[in-house]
Symmetry: C2
Subunit: 342 residues, 2 copies
DNA sequence: CTGAAAGCGCTTACAG
DNA sequence: CTGAAAGCGCTTACAG
């Protein structure tokens, strides 16, 4: 009984060898960069047989024998986040360039699912992992450790453990955001983030904001952690912030793009126009940032480059498992739009 | 020499068998739903050994033997399109539910890359393919045929060949869009699409629009195929459309979401406010549709459901290769916003 | 330049 | 209830 959907099973190296009147070794050589060792006649027969049978080597068998699957696992915290999509594109193109395929898994913001993916990917013997973690908790660390697979962290890191990682320079970025708002004459700033626990990027952005605040006593600041989705809390938080700072020039800072979308809706709901009634600055550049109202000032990240860099670091690690851990931080770029120029 | 990054290679079924003082068959049974055949004592020893070694079966070996990889390949024309992301989420969640992993490939709108992915995925012996094709040309059909893999088409179909496919009811959707605009009193309609060649969805939307136009002689209509990116052509096309129809109530229809974004920028560039100076209707619902100007009226697709349905049809096909081809069309939903209520 | 044979880590009849 | 052995489709020493 055949397992393939069509009646014929896929041809194997054996079939090709038979048809080409050659040994299996020669077929294998043909596909493994050793074609030059073959005589022209043999090579011609092999090529004909491959053509005729439409043969493709079975990667599963290949991986099993060779020990490497030429697969890179990419675990994404939330594929709905445009940030992640751009990262994915960078990872995929760079992987392909080096002969690897990417297996993308969307953890849907669930650490549990993320751990499951780690195990699944290990099962398929991916050569390495690139992880934009949904959250670095103990379960996650446990799972990661259990795989013994080389990995690179993206955007988020593990506290107190040197790891390969690529991300944004959150300290610099938050400083830049803060400075820009102060320069624009804002006097009261409301920093809103999703829960920072288990998430180093959010922590760094928040901490950096807090430090700046302490250095600028004349600026009023508020910090709020809000777990999404929670539109009503978002709305009431902003409303309260506004009523607490009447008469002052106020601005909101959204710690990431997903939040920015929600905040934009909240502001709309409250009838507050960014760039007129209130300032608004967003981490992550959104494709619609110029279209909404007067435009939304953003901290832009070189997302695709971050994906590429992650692959590059992973390949270093694959080539040399003892390679020193690398931490590559990219600078954020401030894109000024109407929302912060009252 | 070890291939793993850490010094220890992964434990195999052999190691577990040795440690549990059992045969490999029993270990295999334990992992294949035949644990009930094992005596409690044997089972206990096996579990202990698995724990101790942190053993996970090698899926590559499993696939090789079993003939099925439990992998579904998903080829996406353009992952930057939010439509695709939603589809991906549907496909992934439904696949997982049935014990399959999804291997996502982003063709980046390149038919060439798409063909390459088809071959690569075949190499890894995925059990089936879900394809949101970048374009159905001869190369694509050739590649698809060569794989002999079961497949389901998403959003786009192959002319003249019955295939499993899921997509939008484009005829109905375009009619609904047309009717809505006419009902709102628009007199001149400008339908803009990316090139329709090799793309059934675009063809259907365009054709349906054209048919409606013929049934409504009092409505002026224009149709434009524009290959992206081409901001200047977009701008000049719209400008010309407007000057050709002075004094009439005008509206633009964007054939998909990617185009809508570009058109929104073009309108902004021209200083035309949708919902005031001109009407604007978009196929595909965009997350920011309510935030931009007065909001953008959209034809919304049940994208995640489409992904799930695709998996479901593929599984039917896997269970019974002779299963009758299914074509599942979803109804579009009109979401009215400010852009079409002048 | 070429090929036979062993073996990668599993599963599945088959035998007990 | 349990396990030895063959074999999935490859690659890699090894031998000629």
């Amino acid at each position: 009984m055949s397992h393939s959907s069509k009646s014929k099973r896929s041809p194997t190296i054996r079939d090709v060898a038979a048809k080409a009147n050659a040994g299996r070794t020669s077929i294998s050589r043909y596909f493994n960069g050793e074609a030059h060792l073959l005589s022209d006649k043999l090579k011609a027969r092999i090529e004909a047989a491959i053509q005729e049978l439409n043969y493709r080597p079975n990667q599963m068998a290949r991986s099993l024998k060779h020990g490497s699957s030429q697969l890179i696992g990419l675990i994404i915290a939330d594929i709905s986040n445009p940030f992640s999509v751009e990262v994915l594109k960078g990872v995929e193109s760079e992987s392909m360039k080096h002969g690897f395929m990417t297996v993308v898994c969307n953890a849907n913001n669930s650490i549990k699912l993320e751990c499951e993916f780690i195990h699944l990917l290990k099962g398929y013997r991916v050569d390495g992992l690139i992880i934009n973690s949904a959250g670095v908790n103990d379960d996650f660390l446990q799972a990661l450790k259990a795989t013994t697979l080389p990995f690179v962290l993206l955007d988020r890191k593990i506290p107190n453990i040197p790891c390969d990682m690529v991300g944004l320079d959150n300290i610099q970025s938050a400083q830049m955001a803060f400075k820009h708002l102060v320069d624009q004459g804002f006097e009261a700033l409301c920093f809103i983030t999703e829960p920072i626990q288990y998430n180093s990027a959010r922590q760094e952005r928040l901490n950096s904001f807090q430090s700046e605040l302490q250095l600028s006593p004349h600026i009023k600041g508020e910090i709020h952690e809000i777990e999404l989705p929670n539109d009503s809390l978002l709305i009431s938080t902003i409303a309260t912030f506004c009523s607490n700072h009447r008469g002052m020039r106020k601005a909101i800072i959204a710690a990431n793009g997903v939040l920015s979308l929600k905040i934009a809706y909240a502001l709309k709901h409250l009838g507050l126009a960014w760039g007129a009634d209130i300032g608004f600055l967003s981490f992550d550049n959104l494709e619609w940032a110029e279209l909404a109202g007067k435009g939304i000032t953003s901290i832009s990240q070189p997302t695709a480059d971050m994906g590429k860099m992650a692959v590059s670091i992973l390949l270093d690690k694959l080539a040399d498992p003892k390679h020193q851990e690398q931490e590559h931080l990219f600078q954020g770029e401030l894109v000024v739009r109407g929302s912060t120029t009252l």
